[in-house]
C-alpha cells in the first residue's frame, strides 16, 4: 500500500520529465497558433497598398482584402484603373482568379502555385498555404531575444514528414504580444530563400499590428515587395457568401 503512491509519483516524474522537447514543441505550437489567430483574427477587412519594387521601376497596386478564419480570403484590385476589378479568391488551398476585361474565372492549376502572385515577390503558394505553417510544420523554440523591451520567441519550423510544402524550414520571430515580426523561408539545403519582415508596429483595427510588410528574396538586393496597410478592421464574422465564385465575379461589396 505504501509503495504504490511512490511508484505513481516516480512515473509521473518520468513522464513529465522525459519529453521536455515535446513540452517545448507544444509551447512553440501555442505561440505560433496564438500569433496566427492574432493577425488573422476571426475575420478582417483591409485596404492594402502593394508596392512592387524593381531596380528600374516601381508599381503600386491597391488591394481590398477580406479574410475569414485561417482558410478563406478574397482580394480585389481597386487601383490602378487598368487593373481595377481583378480578383483572387482563396478557399482552403484552392485559388481562382477573375479578370473583368475577359469576364472569366480561372482556377489556378497546381503547377502554377509557385509562380509570382500579380508579379510580386509573393507566390500563389504564399497566399494559398497561409494556414500551412500551423498544419504542416513542427515548431521548436530555439531562442529568446529582446526587441523594444519585449520578449521575442525565435521559432524554427520544420515540415512534418510527408507535408505537401516547398520549404525545408521556416524561421519565425514572434513577440510576446503575439505580433509576428519576421518569417524566413529556407529551402531543403537550409539556405535562406526569402524573408518577410513586419515594421512600423502601431494601432490598426483596434490592435497593435505591423503596418508595413516587406517580402524580399535573399538573392535580390534591390527587388522587394511592400504591403502597406491603409485600413484594417477586425470583424467577428463575415458571411460565407462573400467567399464564393459569384462574389469573385461580382465585386459589389
Amino acid at each position: 500500500m505504501t509503495k504504490k503512491p511512490i511508484l505513481a509519483l516516480c512515473m509521473t516524474l518520468l513522464i513529465s520529465a522525459g519529453p521536455s522537447v515535446d513540452a517545448n514543441g507544444q509551447d512553440a505550437q501555442a505561440v505560433v497558433e496564438a500569433s496566427v489567430d492574432y493577425y488573422r483574427g476571426k475575420a478582417s477587412i483591409a485596404l492594402v497598398d502593394m508596392i512592387i519594387h524593381r531596380p528600374h521601376w516601381e508599381r503600386t497596386v491597391t488591394i481590398k482584402a477580406w479574410t475569414k478564419g485561417q482558410k478563406d480570403s478574397i482580394f480585389t484590385i481597386i487601383a490602378p484603373p487598368r487593373d481595377n476589378g481583378n480578383g483572387t479568391l482563396k478557399r482552403g488551398r484552392e485559388m481562382w482568379m477573375y479578370n473583368p476585361k475577359v469576364n472569366r474565372v480561372i482556377k489556378l492549376p497546381p503547377s502554377m502555385m509557385s509562380q509570382a502572385w500579380m508579379g510580386s515577390d509573393f507566390s500563389n503558394n504564399d497566399l494559398a498555404k497561409s494556414d500551412s505553417i500551423l498544419e504542416d510544420y513542427a515548431h521548436t523554440i530555439v531562442g529568446i531575444e529582446t526587441h523594444d523591451g519585449k520578449k521575442v520567441h525565435v521559432i524554427e519550423s520544420v515540415p512534418k514528414p510527408e507535408a505537401p510544402v516547398v520549404w525545408g524550414m521556416q524561421r519565425l520571430k514572434i513577440r510576446e504580444d503575439h505580433i509576428l515580426l519576421s518569417q524566413e523561408f529556407y529551402d531543403e539545403d537550409l539556405e535562406l530563400v526569402k524573408a518577410m519582415t513586419g515594421r512600423q508596429i502601431q494601432m490598426l483595427g483596434g490592435k497593435l499590428f505591423p503596418k508595413v510588410w516587406k517580402m524580399q528574396r535573399a538573392d535580390m538586393k534591390d527587388e522587394y515587395t511592400l504591403l502597406e496597410y491603409k485600413e484594417l478592421t477586425f470583424k467577428k464574422d463575415l458571411p460565407d457568401s462573400l467567399f464564393t465564385l459569384s462574389a469573385l465575379r461580382n465585386p459589389r461589396r
Binding site: 512592387i52 528600374h56 481583378n86 479578370n99 475577359v102 472569366r104 480561372i106 489556378l108 492549376p109
Partner: protein, 413 residues
Amino acid sequence: MFSVDVKMALRNVWRNPRRSILTILAIAFASLLLVFMLSWQFGSYDTMINSAVKIHTGHLQVQAKGYQDKKNIRLVVSDPATVGSVLEEIPAVAAYTFRTNAFSLVSSRERTYGAVVIGIDPEKEAKVSNLERLIRQGSYLSADDSDQALAGKLLVANLQVGLGDELVVLGQGRDGSIAATVVKVKGIFSSGQDEFDRSTIHIPLRYFQDVYAMQGTVHEVVALGKSLEYVSEIRSRVEDDIKKMEKNEHLVVLDWMELMPGLIQAIQMDLVSGFIFYIILIVVVAFSILNTFLMAIFERTREFGVLMAVGAPPHRLTKLLLIESGSMTMVGIVIGIIAGSLITWYFQVHGIVISGSSELMRHYGLPERMFPQLSALSVSIGAGLVLVITFLTALYPALKVRRLRPVQAMMGV
C-alpha cells in the same frame, strides 16, 4: 620504270592472290564503312541543327542582355526596326522576324495550364520558321488577324479544345499590369518537339504588344542565315553594327549553340559514341591485317633467308615488306573510298527512312527521312585513320624480319 624492289614487292603480292585480295577487301570494307558512317553522322547533325533551328530558335537572335536566362518580360529590344535594318543589309541573312514571349495562364472552360504565349509577325515568321508548314488543322495566321491563336497539338489536347474554341489568356504585361484576353484557336500545329507542342501558343505580334503593353518593343529578333556556315560571319557583323548604334548597348547576339545548348550536347555525345564504335572497328581491322602480314612472313622465312644469303641487307627486306603492305593498303583504301562514296551518294539523293525514331530525335523534331552528307572531311577522316593504322600494323612484321639470321632462316619452313 619500277625499281627492282617495287617489282619484287608487286610480284610477291600477286604470288598469293587469294590472301592479298582478302587483305585488300578487309581494308576496303573498313574504309567504306567509315566513309559512310561519318557522312551519315555529319549529315544527321546538319539535319538536326537545321530542323531544330527552323522550328523555333533560328540561326541567331538579338536579345536584351540576360533575357535568355531570365526570360524577364521587361528585358526588351526597344527599337526592333533598326536591328531589322542592320540584318537586311547583310547578304548572308536569308530572313528575319520579331518575336515576343510571355509566360501566362492559358485556360479553356474546363482546364488551365501554364504556357508561353508567343507574339509572331505572321508574314516574316513564315520565312524564318517552319510554323506555317507545321499547321495540322485549321490555318496559319494572316497579316490582319488579331485575337486568333495557333496552339500546339498537345496543349490543345490537354485543354480539351478544338478549332474555333476560345482560350482565356491571363498573364502579366510589361508594365506589371494584368494582361488578359480571349483568343480563338485558328490553327493547331505539331512540330514533333513535345515541349514546344505542349506549352506554346502563338498570337499576332501587334495583338501581343497591345495586350501585354509592350509599346512596340520585342524580346527576340530572330535571323536565319543562308546556311549554317554563314552563322559566325553574320554574328560578328551584327555585333559590330549594333555596337556602333546608340541606345543598343544592352543588346547581345546569340547563335543557335547558345540558344539550344542541349542540342550541341546531344551532338557531342553522339560523336563520342560514334568514335568509340570506329575505334573498335579499326582495331578489329588492324588485327586481321596484322594476322595476314605476319602469316606472310612466317611462310616466307626460308625465302628471306635465301635473300639474305645472296646479300640482301635487312633494311632492304623491311623496305620490300613495307612496299607490299603499302600497295595493298592503298588499293584497299581507294576501292573503299570509291564504293563508300557511291553508296553514300545514293542515299544522299534518296534518303534513308528511319521508322520509330528515338525519343531524342523526336525531341528535336527530326524528319523521318535522313540524308547522309558526303564531304571532303567525312571521306578523308576515315581513309586517313585506316591508312595510319595499317601502316603501324605493317611496321611490326617489317621490323621483325630484320632479326632473321640467314642460316637458321634457310633451315626453316
